[in-house]
């Protein structure tokens, strides 16, 4: 048996002449929270649709729980719960009726609907028309719909889209709970690195249909080296001075200098050094690279 919940082997997918996914080899370990990271239009949603067999993949390129998806469509879909793009909800039905409808389709007991509403905190709005829900409530109902069959694998496409900070934290905690307590595998897509970092155990970064990085979150951290940003007067001289003192200068402009972060003590030393030599340091802070820079880095390395 494969140890991967999802495995794609050199997956290619085109819309007409346009290549959407190129040679994609995803490996999502069982029990992981896999952050599927990439800018808009990178091919994340397309990949998720392929995993749901909504888009037909070439034979022998997509395996879910070790089984080829095209020849095991129904058996595979039984083990997957998904939230794709905007949650697909019947606006003229209430939240509860939406869940009951899904229970009918999946052959589940209708009492499951109440359980799910409680889980995502929609019990009070159960009988309200779903079309009148706020975006956050719709998103939560979408997650409830994905969870109703108690699937082993959850595919969540930007699940925190449109949620307020409280909602984001709730979803985050829910994902962690589902993975740790209920041993579910979760593939969650996002265009925000910060969002993925907080929950994911594994990360895959996709851009223009190609997988640029895949590994554990720690491996990603090694790539995404933090930096020290120093706001100082006479940046030109200060940069020269630091360089002569043996520090690597990653970038500099009129107001600040950036140098790789190694430890807090080392940052302190830089500060002392600058001040002792007559520079005025107005701010010194540790910065994580944002996704854009990380992308640039990773593409450079590739």
């Amino acid at each position: 048996m494969s140890n991967y919940a999802i495995e794609t082997v050199g997956l290619n997918f085109n819309f007409g002449n346009q290549s959407i996914v190129k040679d994609l080899s995803l490996q999502v370990p069982k029990g992981s929270i896999y952050g599927f990271l990439g800018p808009n239009g990178a091919g994340k949603t397309t990949t998720i649709k392929i995993l749901l067999n909504l888009l037909k993949s070439p034979a022998d390129q997509v395996f879910v729980f070790g089984k080829e998806i095209n020849s095991n469509r129904i058996a595979t879909l039984k083990r997957i719960g998904a939230l794709v793009e905007q949650p697909a909800i019947y606006g003229h039905l209430s939240g509860k009726e939406n869940l009951i409808n899904r229970c009918i389709l999946l052959g589940l007991k209708k009492t499951k609907a109440d359980e799910m509403l409680a889980l995502v905190g929609l019990t009070e709005a159960a009988d309200k028309k779903a079309g009148k829900y706020s975006l956050g409530m719709k998103q939560r109902l979408g997650i409830a719909l994905a969870l109703v069959s108690d699937p082993e694998l959850l595919l969540l496409d930007e699940p925190t889209n449109g949620l307020d900070p409280n909602g984001i934290i709730e979803i985050r905690n829910l994902m962690i709970e589902l993975a740790t307590k209920h041993h579910k595998t979760i593939l969650v897509s996002s265009h925000l690195l910060a969002e993925i970092e907080r929950t994911a155990t594994h990360v895959g970064i996709i851009n223009k249909g190609q997988l640029l990085f895949q590994g554990t979150i720690d491996e990603l951290h090694l790539l995404s080296k933090p930096m020290v940003e120093i706001e100082v007067d006479q940046t030109e001289e200060a940069a020269k001075f630091l360089a002569s003192a043996g520090y690597e200068i990653t970038s500099k402009n009129e107001i600040k200098i950036t140098t790789p972060f190694s430890s807090s003590t080392e940052s302190g030393k830089i500060n002392t050094l600058l001040i002792k030599n007559g520079f005025t340091v107005s701010s010194l802070s540790k910065q994580r690279k944002d996704l854009e820079n990380l992308f640039l880095d990773i593409t450079k390395n590739n």
């Binding site: 909504l54 794709v84 003229h92 409808n101 389709l105 999946l106 052959g107």
Partner: protein, 265 residues
């Protein structure tokens, strides 16, 4: 089979609060009530004709049948085919529907069957209400001769014919509504088709039977009474019905291929 049944139950559950579903019930109630009211308030005129039971029934049921066959039926079918598909277009739920662990063909078939069932319910109610209101008229206006004749066979045969002849239109409209999520295109095409159907049907054009939209009015031409002919002696499976069924079968299969590609977007 199980997945078709499950999907069908779900279709009922989803649609039970929509106008398309209620129209199947309200339409026969409204039209039958109107016609019956006409026969009640204008009973003197009708009584002057001195029609025997059978002819009275044919006249009374024919009034409803002709309105239905010509106009209401095609428009109801158009609206219903639109509504059954629009529920997924509007909510962007095609993708979730096809991501369920159910056979794609079952999901599509259930949707189609649901439309067929709605037409069936609608026409069944028409027949049943015509029967019931006819007897009610008899009770209200004792001079009527409704009680002289049992119209069950006539009603069953003519409504079966109307039902079968509408399946061609249903399949076309079903496909149009599958392809386009908006209201205007399928309804617009259906409207033009219906007018064409009525014109060619009325003119008795030789090839009118090849236009699905003219089939209901063609199929019901037996209600135009001819002297010396038994109005109740008609075949159900005439050329129009076979054409309608052929259209339905071919387009039903074509629709499946459209729907499987549909989810790609």
């Amino acid at each position: 089979m199980r997945s078709i049944f499950i999907s069908l139950v779900s279709e009922f559950y989803k649609s039970r609060k929509t106008l398309a579903f209620w129209a199947a019930i309200l339409l026969p109630v409204a039209i039958c009530s109107l016609v019956s009211f006409g026969f009640y308030s204008g009973s003197e005129k009708v009584l002057k004709l001195n029609a025997p039971g059978m002819m009275l029934w044919v006249r009374y049921a024919g009034a409803t049948l002709n309105v239905m066959g010509m106009l209401v039926m095609p428009f109801y079918v158009m609206f219903m085919a639109f509504s059954v598909n629009n529920i997924e277009h509007k909510n962007d739920t095609w993708k979730t529907l096809f991501a369920q662990p159910l056979n794609k063909f079952s999901i599509y078939t259930a949707k189609y069957l649901f439309s067929v069932l709605l037409i069936f319910i609608c026409l069944f109610l028409f027949a049943a209400l015509t029967f019931a209101f006819g007897h009610l008229l008899q009770a209200l206006v004792p001079q009527y001769t409704f009680n002289q004749y049992n119209p069950s066979n006539f009603l069953i045969n003519s409504y079966s014919k109307l039902f079968l002849s509408s399946l061609g239109i249903l399949s076309i409209q079903f496909i149009l509504s599958l392809i386009w999520g908006d209201f205007l295109k399928p309804i617009g095409i259906g409207f033009v088709g219906t007018i064409m159907g009525i014109v060619t049907g009325m003119l008795n054009w030789t090839y009118a039977y090849l236009i699905p939209y003219s089939l209901p009015s063609l199929a019901l031409q037996f209600t135009q009474l001819k002297k010396g002919k038994d109005p109740l002696n008609f075949e159900i499976f005439t050329r129009e019905i076979w054409t309608s069924l052929a259209y339905a079968a071919v387009l039903f299969i074509a629709g499946y291929f459209i729907v499987t590609r549909k989810s790609i977007k």
